[in-house]
């Protein structure tokens, strides 16, 4: 398979991932902001989720840019 095709496919997969992540993240934040019984639990969860998600997405972006 040509390298240019692989790059396009990887970019498309990356964009699909972003499209899935955005509404899911908004749904998480909505639930934790509105229904969490404790502020500490909500803040800790949102912080851990965001840090993990950022690491994964930045890792993906780094690879996408190198292909």
């Amino acid at each position: 398979m040509p390298a240019a095709d692989i790059s396009t496919i990887v970019w498309v997969v990356f964009i699909i991932c972003i499209v899935i992540v955005i509404p899911t993240t908004l749904a998480f934040f909505y639930h934790w902001g509105r229904f969490a019984p404790s502020h500490f639990g909500a803040i800790a969860t949102i912080a851990i989720y965001t840090v993990g998600l950022s690491i994964i997405l930045l890792g993906m972006l780094g690879i996408v840019l190198t292909i």
């Binding site: 692989i6 997969v13 991932c17 998480f28 019984p37 969860t45 993990g52 994964i56 690879i63 292909i67």
Partner: protein, 177 residues
Amino acid sequence: MRFDDGENKVLVIRKHWIVFFGNLLLAAFGAVLPIIILRILPAELFTSVLPGSSAGPVSAFLYFVWLLFLWLFLFALWTLYYLNVWIVTNRRIIDVDQKGLFSREIAAARIENVQDVTINTHGILQTLFDFGTLTIHTASGSPDFHISNAAHPNLVRQKILAIHDIAIAKREPNPLK
């Protein structure tokens, strides 16, 4: 969660942490599974599909995609675990049943209407880690409150019955005194 004036949160009951720990172990296994598979499968399998120079980065990218979905799945499970809760106040028992990200059921019963609290502990794991099924029977005619794998059910039962006794004593002062 909003409480009435003079209503105080006394107890928050969740499923035992071991329930979520099982999911965490499963996710951790899921995270290392592709690495194990890559070790087992022959390297020629990838280089025959992808050009030699891009096989590594594409594999890494696919691994990150897998991690992303594991991460989302894990947090969906955590949300269900953490938001599925019983809140016992000095007046009510509130059962918040988080069935899905967009599916939620809330039921409440007055603490005076509690008739009985039943606990069921089965198996070695539940006995060792002190968790089990907790059921509250109420006099209001509404369905019983039920939480499976609740942490420290015996302690919770004692506390609920103690709060119930206090509520009854406040409502009906003893005429003989």
